[in-house]
Each structure stands twice: as C-alpha cells, then as structure tokens.
C-alpha cells in the first residue's frame, strides 16, 4: 500500500502555493492562462449577457415611441429627429482608434519601452475621454431637444443602453489612468505587462460592443417623423459647432 500523499523533500516548484491573486507566473496554472486574464475573459462572457439583455430590450422597444404617438398618446422627440450619424461616426472612430493605441501601449511595454507605453496609454485614455465628451455633448443635446428618460420609450431605452456603455468606457478610462499613474511611479514594468493586457482585453471588448450599438441604435434607419411631436420644431445640424461652444461654456 502506498501513501495518499507522500512527503518527500526534494527540489521542484511549489507553484501551487495560494495567493495567486497577484502573481503572473502563468506556467503554474493548469491551463497555462494567467488567473486574471482568465477571469477577465469570463467577465467579458458575462458582460455579453448584460449588454445582450439591454440590446434585446432596445430592439424590442425600437419604434415603440412612434407607435404610441400614432395612437395619440406619447410625445416626441423621436430618433429620426435626433440621431446624428456623422457626429457619432466621428466619436465611434475615436473609440476605435483608442483600441489601436491600446495595442501599441501593450506592445511597447512588452518590449520594455516604458516611455512608449506611457505615451500610448495616455493617448488611449485621452481618446476614451474624448468619446465620453462626445457622449456628454450628445446627451445634453438630446436633452435640450426635449428627450429625457421619461419622455418616451426611445428616451428610456436609448439613455439606458448608451449610458451603460458610457459607464463601461468611464471605468476603462479610470483604470487606464490608474495604470498610467502606476507607470509614472515606476510600478508598471515589462514583467507587469499582464496588468496592461487584462485592461486591454476589457478595452477592446467595450469597443466591439460599441460597434454593435452604433449599428443597431444609429445606423439602422428609424421611421421618419418630420417635425411631428416636437415642441418648437427644434434646430438640427451644426451640432459640432455647438459642441465647441458648450464645452467652452463648461470649462470657463
């Protein structure tokens, strides 16, 4: 009969000590995938269900505001009067570019180019923040046109879905800025590349989700409503210029 657990003192790795939480010795995991990276993949799978529930709800209620209005109950504004595809395309482009800079930041860090990693990290945060600025502008703009969460089903579903995505971007920006801060204090070296890689996974995911939202919420056409249901007609176009004015107004 042999022993259940043989007690042998010999050399070898004690890789299974607990507290894997912080370390990145991938060779010690049974799958070869780092703990945090695996956890992030799982989180993203779960996040798909979060966005899936929200997007499904959006699609179920798409056109509902117009329908209710036709039945003589609700009010505008409606998506066809508000959605500004050129403007949002620009901010979508900004967000997509931030994925590129994110890749560059990670590549730089993996090559031990600390300066490069900081620059690209800063660029990524900046692009993310720019996207958020665009969303802030868009939200206030829609709000001034009379759309709020309570106005109609479009208001409720639009702000909830894009707001939930915006929250993801905001958390991402905070995360990236934290990493930048750590990096500037010398805490993000080549050996810590996993920290950046995990943040990167999250960041790319948030970008990809935006492509889906952009398509379903902005690109797929809505019922044309003219100026029906608007309080005082509403002005359109020139939003980017107004954005500049608004932004200046916010800061000064």
């Amino acid at each position: 009969m042999t022993q259940a657990v043989e007690v042998v003192h010999a050399s070898g790795g004690a890789g299974h000590a607990a507290g894997h939480g912080g370390d990145d010795h991938t060779s010690h995991t049974a799958t070869g995938i780092n703990h945090r990276k695996l956890a992030m993949w799982l989180f993203l799978a779960s996040d798909c269900m979060f966005f899936g529930s929200l997007i499904a709800t959006y699609m179920i209620y798409r056109g509902r505001a117009e329908e209710v209005f036709r039945e003589g109950a609700g009010t505008g504004p409606f998506p066809s009067q508000l959605i500004d595809i050129p403007f949002t395309s620009v901010s979508a482009f900004v967000l997509l570019m931030s994925s590129l800079t994110m890749v560059l930041a990670l590549a730089a860090l993996q090559k031990n180019n600390l300066r490069g990693s900081r620059i690209w990290l800063a660029a990524t945060s900046l692009l993310g923040a720019t996207f958020l600025g665009g969303q802030y502008f868009e939200f206030t703009e829609f709000y001034h046109e009379g759309l709020s969460l309570q106005t109609n089903m479009f208001g409720a579903t639009f702000f909830t879905l894009t707001g939930f995505h915006g929250l993801h971007v905001a958390i991402g920006v905070i995360w990236l800025l934290t990493l930048l801060y750590v990096s500037l204090r010398g805490g993000l070296k080549q050996k810590d590349a996993m920290s950046l890689e995990v943040a990167g996974l999250y960041w790319h995911f948030v970008d990809i989700v935006w492509i889906i939202i952009f398509t379903l919420v902005y690109l797929v056409p809505y019922e044309e409503m003219g100026t029906e249901g608007l309080e005082e007609g509403g002005e359109h176009g020139m939003r980017l210029i107004e954005f500049g004015r608004n932004a200046l107004g916010t800061f000064f």
Binding site: M1, Q3, H9, A18, A45, S53, L149, A156, T178
Partner: protein, 659 residues
C-alpha cells in the same frame, strides 16, 4: 483486490520554506480572513442562520393556514411572509450553503491551497451577508415596508403605482448586492477550478462535485446579468419615472417576466446542481464502488445547464404567448428531463451491486434521489401546457418546487453537512441521532408537501392568506401544517446535532468514510495550507486507486464491490486513523512555522462591502442629502458608501497580496 506497488498519488515536490502565518481565531481574524476554509465556514453558518429565519417564516405561514378563516395573520403580513420566505430560502439559504461547500470542500478536492482570488472571495462573502441584512432590515420599518410582491416580483405589481412603499426597493437593492456577490464568487471558482487543479487532475478526473461547481458557476455568470438588468429597469421605473414595464408609456410588463425567467430557470439549476454533485460524491463512497457512468454524468450536467437557457417561457404558459411559443417551450422543457433522468439512473447504477452502508449522509442522499424524482415528475407534468393552466398559481406548484428545492437541494446539502462535517471539525456528527433526524425530516417533509398536490388539484390558490369554511380544503391543511411543524422540528434537530457534535462527536482521522477524493487525503481539519505537498493525481478516485489498486479506472461497475470487505465499524462510522493519517498529521504539525507561503489577511474586502452596504442603506433610508452641492438630491450616507466602496477597491488593488 490486489494492491498495486506503484504509487498513484505522488507528491508534488516543494522547495518553498518561508513563513506560515499562524492560525489565530479572534474576531479580527474572522473579519480579515481570506482563507477559503474560514470563508466556507462563514458562508455555512450564515446560510444556516438565514435558513432558520426562512423556516420561521414558513412556520408562521403554516400556522395561519392551519384552519379556515383564520385571522391570526392579516393579508399584508402574509404577503410579506411568503415573499421573504421564498427570497430568503433561495438567495440566502440554499445558494450560499452550496457556496460554503464550494469554498471549503471543492478547493480541497482539486488539491489546491486556496482559491484563485482569496480577497475577492472574502468580498463575495461580505456582500452576501450585507445583502441578507438589507433584505431583512425591512422588518424594522413596519410590515408595509417588507417586500410583499412574491419572490419573482412581477411587474406591474412592483411598479410605483401599485407598490408605493419602500418594500420593493429593499428587495431590489438586496438582490442586486446578492447578485454581485454570486457573480464575483462564480468567476473566482471557475478560475480556481480551471487553473488550480493538482498536477495530473485532468478535467475528466475531477470529482463530480467539482464538476457541478464549475457548471453551476458558469450558469451564475451567464444568468445573473439578465436579472440585474431587469432590476435596473425596475429601479429606473420606480425612481426615475421611466416606463420599461408600464403599458401607459408603451412599456410591456411581460418584458420583466422574460428577463426574470431567462435568469430564473437557470437559477433553479443553480440551486439543484450542487446537490447533485454532493449526492454523486456520497453515493459511490457508501456503495463502495466508483460512480457509475462518470463521463455520462458530466455530459448530462453540461446538457442540463445548456438546455436550461432555452426553457424559460414554461413559466409563462398562461400569459398568452400563443400556441407556437408554448409548444416549443413545452418541448424543450421535456427534453431537459432526459439528462436529468440519466443522472438518476447513474446513481441507481452506482448503488446496484454495491455494498451499501446506510450512514446518515447516505440516507439523506438516497432521500434526495427519491424526493427529487417526485418533484421532477410533477415538473414534467407542468410542461404539458393545458395541464399547466390548471397547476399555475395553485398549491400543486408549491408542492412541485418544494419537492425539488427542499427534497432535492436541501436534502442534498444536509447530506453534505453530515458527510463533510468530520473534515471540517475532525469529529463525526452523532449517527443514531442523525438517523432519527433523517426519518423525522423525511416524514415531516412528505406530510407537508405531498398533500399540497391534492390541495392544488382541488383548486387551492397559492399566496392566499386565508380560505373559507366549506372549501373542502380544511382537512389537508391541518395535515400539511402538522407536517410543517414536524419538519421545522427536524431542522432544529439538525441544528442541535451540528452544535452538540462539536463537543461530543467522535474524533476521527483524515478519511473516516474511506472515501476516494482528495479532500480526504489531508488531516481533519486541514492545516491552513491544506496540503503540505501538493498531491499528484493519476486517477479519478485517487485515494481508492492508491489503496485498492487501479483496476476500476475507467471501468465503472464491478471493481468496487471487492474493495470492501472492509468493516465500516460501529454505527457505520469507521475510524480510519491509520498510520498514514497519523504521519500526515505529524508532518503538518512539524511543518507549522516553516514551509508554505500563504497570502496575508486583508480588511479591504470588508471595507469595500461595507461601502456597498452604506450605499444601499443611503438609498433606502432618508438621511440628510447633499443639496448644498447642487441640484443633486443624494443622501450623505450613500455618498459616504460610494467613497468607502471605491476607497476599499483601490486600497485592495494596491495592497501586496503576500509578503
């Protein structure tokens, strides 16, 4: 059976020789612990506490229903009681009790020293505790503030117009916190299982309980988002004035039902699969042969989980989805019965020709199999759409889900308590008392819930606080209430046995039941670091392979029988404190003070969870607000909570995991 010379469980050699943190057990230690075993104990104790609260609520329900036209409990209180009973039992009783075993036992089963993210694990526990407190806190604000809309909270009843008090808000925030706790826990367990298995433990060598932990955790991370979003919509409807579920605004109350049941049906598998796992450990151990059809069992479990996402609308047959949808969901629901039936036959196959020892854990396990089967059969009956129209909202449904939730989940979990108690405490629970416990619980259970089938078919609706004289329901209600009190008494017996055996239970060694899985390879209770040397696994049932030879590897039926011949000792409790165990214990003691590197305790998980708690409290209870800071009417306590939460998370991120 010949034993084999070659060692099947070998050591995984270790070099590390730094400090072991000494095991203290003061209050501070419990508050800052990140040891999966202690967290497991915390989960277990808290869950049992909530089970008792939920049980007390059930006793009050049955007292009210004992006679016709009873006026003991009014309608409002009654609504609060069944809502709190259901919510408590599901989210604060059965789920966390399963998590207790995942923490304590599953980690040992895969030969690991802790979970992948020990501090996250502590955070999950504290969130669970605070989520339970938020729910039950409502009792202090008067009965109209206690959640009273039923455990699945259908809209539009939950909308502000129909539920103007904070009752529903307590329920929403508590479920949100509990959801976060469950999901974080699930991420942690999946990573732990995939990444931290002992060398040699391939997926198909994992114990069944570990398998069910893995699959249940996947269900949690995929199902909880739906209810989280459903609750977010509800919060916005109530607090912001959106109309997600309000027909007047163009919203649709059925959206709630869809989102809820997309979560809700997988949730019932979240409740039952851990019990399946436990039974799959106990039945082989006491039949003295390996699990029959292990791989089929694994696939069946995965199939149940997968199909579980495609059946949700069987909860909505009576809402008018139309014949096509009803037929499709009826068919998918019946399909699920196939893998479930496969599991039942696997357990029966394991017992067939086994040398069955009816110890208390085995009694509960077999009880579980039989009672779950009854619940499963009435479940297939609901899958028949026209039949369901009659069952819906009647006591027939109550009978059905208590057979699966109590007779299935809870019997399985209690079997687990009796089975693993010696691992946790180093003592077995009193066996003869345990058998009394089982038979009284079994009798009480069937007296309570079997007659509910009759009541349901006679038309007694669920969630009614009273019924009239001459309804014809009087007799069976007396029987049910009597059975209920007997059942309540048997729960107290369980509690008593757990407490009493801590002092008087017979002391046992590492592997008192002569079980095959790794948790039995280390001492009872295990040292902080679990295994002095990480075991090397070459078999599905490593401790049996090592002791009796490997002939039964991948050969599920016969071999186990001849293993036996081994007397299990009096009262079915063998004491296996053999040389090997003693040697292990020695090794562990010798090792204390030098050897294995364990992570530091941390108070940040508690701080962060406390922040979440304050945030919820601030949203629920009127405190001075921050109007001074602008138009935002936000409670000071909530803001403090948010700051504490964020501070806790940052503190934790920058804290070194170990030194």
């Amino acid at each position: 059976m010949a034993s084999i010379a070659q060692p099947h469980v070998q050591s995984h050699q270790a070099t590390a020789q730094p400090v072991v943190h000494t095991q203290r057990s003061g209050l501070w230690d419990w508050l800052t612990t990140i040891d999966h075993k202690k967290i497991g104990i915390l989960y277990g104790v808290t869950a049992i506490l909530f089970l008792m609260i939920g049980g007390l609520e059930a006793m009050l329900i049955r007292t009210q229903l004992v006679s016709a036209d009873n006026t003991l409990i009014g309608p409002n209180t009654y609504n609060a009681l069944f809502t709190m009973h259901g919510t408590t039992m599901i989210f604060l009783g059965v789920m966390p009790l399963s998590v207790a075993f995942w923490n304590y036992i599953m980690v040992l089963q895969i030969g690991a020293r802790d979970v992948a993210f020990p501090r996250l694990n502590a955070f999950s526990y504290w969130l669970f505790l605070f989520g339970g407190i938020v729910l039950n806190m409502s009792w202090f604000f008067g009965v109209n503030e206690v959640p009273n809309q039923g455990w699945y909270g259908y809209a539009p009843l939950t909308e502000e117009a129909w539920s103007p008090t904070r009752a529903v808000d307590f329920w929403i925030l508590s479920l949100q916190i509990l959801g976060v706790a469950s999901m974080l826990g699930a991420f942690n367990f999946i990573v732990t299982i995939l990444n931290m298995r002992a060398p040699g433990m391939s997926l198909m060598r994992m114990p069944m309980f570990t398998w069910t932990t893995l699959i249940t955790s996947i269900l949690i991370i995929m199902a909880f988002p739906a209810i989280t979003i459903a609750l977010v919509f509800l919060m916005m409807d109530r607090w912001v004035g959106t109309g997600f579920y309000a027909p007047a605004a163009g919203g649709d109350p059925l959206l709630w039902q869809h989102l809820f049941w997309v979560f809700g049906h997988p949730e019932v598998y979240i409740l039952i699969l851990p019990a399946f796992g436990i039974v799959s450990e106990i039945v082989p151990t006491f039949s003295r042969k390996p699990l029959f059809g292990y791989s089929v069992m694994v696939y069946a479990t995965a199939a149940i989980a997968f199909l579980g996402f495609g059946v949700w609308a069987h909860h909505m047959f009576t809402t008018g989805l139309g014949p096509t949808a009803n037929s499709v969901f009826s068919a998918t629901t019946m399909t699920i019965a196939i893998p479930t039936g496969v599991k039942i036959f696997n357990w029966l196959g394991t017992m067939t020709f086994g040398q069955i020892k009816f110890t208390t854990p085995m009694l509960f396990a077999v009880g579980m199999i039989s009672q779950f089967t009854i619940g499963g059969i009435s479940g297939v009956m609901h899958a028949v759409v026209p039949l369901d129209a009659h069952h819906n909202d009647s006591y027939f449904v109550i009978a059905h889900f208590h057979y699966v939730l109590f007779g299935g989940s809870l019997f399985g979990l209690i079997a687990g308590i009796y089975y693993w108690y010696p691992k946790v405490t180093g003592r077995v629970m009193n066996e003869s008392f345990g058998k009394w416990n089982f038979w009284i619980m079994f009798t009480g259970f069937n007296l309570t819930f079997f007659p509910m089938h009759f009541l349901g078919l006679q038309g007694m609706p669920r969630r009614y606080y009273s019924y009239g004289e001459g309804s014809g329901w009087e007799f069976w209600n007396v029987v049910v209430s009597f059975g209920g009190f007997l059942l309540g008494f048997s729960m107290l017996m369980l509690l008593f046995n757990i407490g009493q055996s801590l002092r008087t239970g017979k002391r046992v060694g590492a592997n008192p039941w002569d079980a095959p899985t790794l948790e039995w390879a280390t001492t009872s209770p295990p040292p902080v670091y679990n295994f002095r040397e990480i075991p090397q696994v070459a078999n599905r049932d490593p401790l049996w392979a090592e002791k009796y030879g490997t002939d039964h590897e991948n050969e599920d039926s016969e071999v186990g029988i001849s293993i036996g011949g081994r007397e299990l000792g009096t009262a079915g409790v063998p004491d296996d404190k053999d040389k090997e165990t003693l040697r292990l214990q020695h090794a562990a003691e010798e090792d204390a003070g030098h050897g294995i590197h364990m992570p530091n305790p941390s108070y940040y998980p508690l701080v962060a969870a406390l922040g979440m708690f304050l945030l919820a409290v601030g949203m629920l209870i009127d405190f001075p607000t921050l109007i001074a800071l602008g138009p935002v009417d936000f409670s000071i306590v909530a803001v403090l909570g948010l700051i504490t939460l964020i501070g806790g998370i940052f503190g934790w991120s920058f804290e070194p995991a170990s030194d």
